[in-house]
């Protein structure tokens, strides 16, 4: 996973952020210090619900 700096509090804005040992990435992402470069693919259509066949009547 790659990250880009968006706050000058942790480095030069626009440069890649390489987390050191023990760095809490979630905290930096949650509060706007870095962004993830991973593209989230949310265009895939959801699968339709499966339907069970009705039981045969005797």
């Amino acid at each position: 996973m790659k990250y880009t700096i968006i706050s000058d509090k942790i480095g030069v804005v626009g440069e890649k952020f390489v987390p050191g040992e023990g760095i809490n990435i979630e905290a930096l992402l949650a509060h706007g210090f870095i962004v993830s470069d991973e593209i989230v693919n949310d265009t895939t259509a959801p699968k339709s619900a499966k339907t069970k066949a009705l039981p045969k009547k005797d």
């Binding site: 509090k9 942790i10 952020f17 023990g22 760095i23 809490n24 905290a27 930096l28 509060h31 210090f33």
Partner: protein
Amino acid sequence: MATSTYLSNPTFTCNSVDLSDQCRSATLSVKYDALESTAFGSTSRVYTAGLGDHELNVTLLMSYSATETYATLAALVGTATTVILKPSSSATSATNPSFTLTGTFLETLPVIDAKYGELSEIDITFKGGVYTVATA
């Protein structure tokens, strides 16, 4: 005579975030449990180092602005992170060592400490973690 007067140069980095401009004081205490190894034949008590139990106490000005004190610490309370202290902002060297606690735990975060007419400050403590010193 060797003295160190801190005016504006020390740096404090918490979870990669430079909080030097909000930091008013910082004390890193390196401590090891003293395990007594006194045995027959000893004429005095002697000790050997046990587990490290290091601690960093920091006083910070509280700011709720984006990417400042609160934003840096809010998600860290109850978790472990890495903090770095340096006597000066210049390059790390033997005369400007970089002190690091890796995997240190932030147990408590005073989210507001309001006194009328005064700048808000908070005192926080990072407990434990692996202590290292870099000189280059």
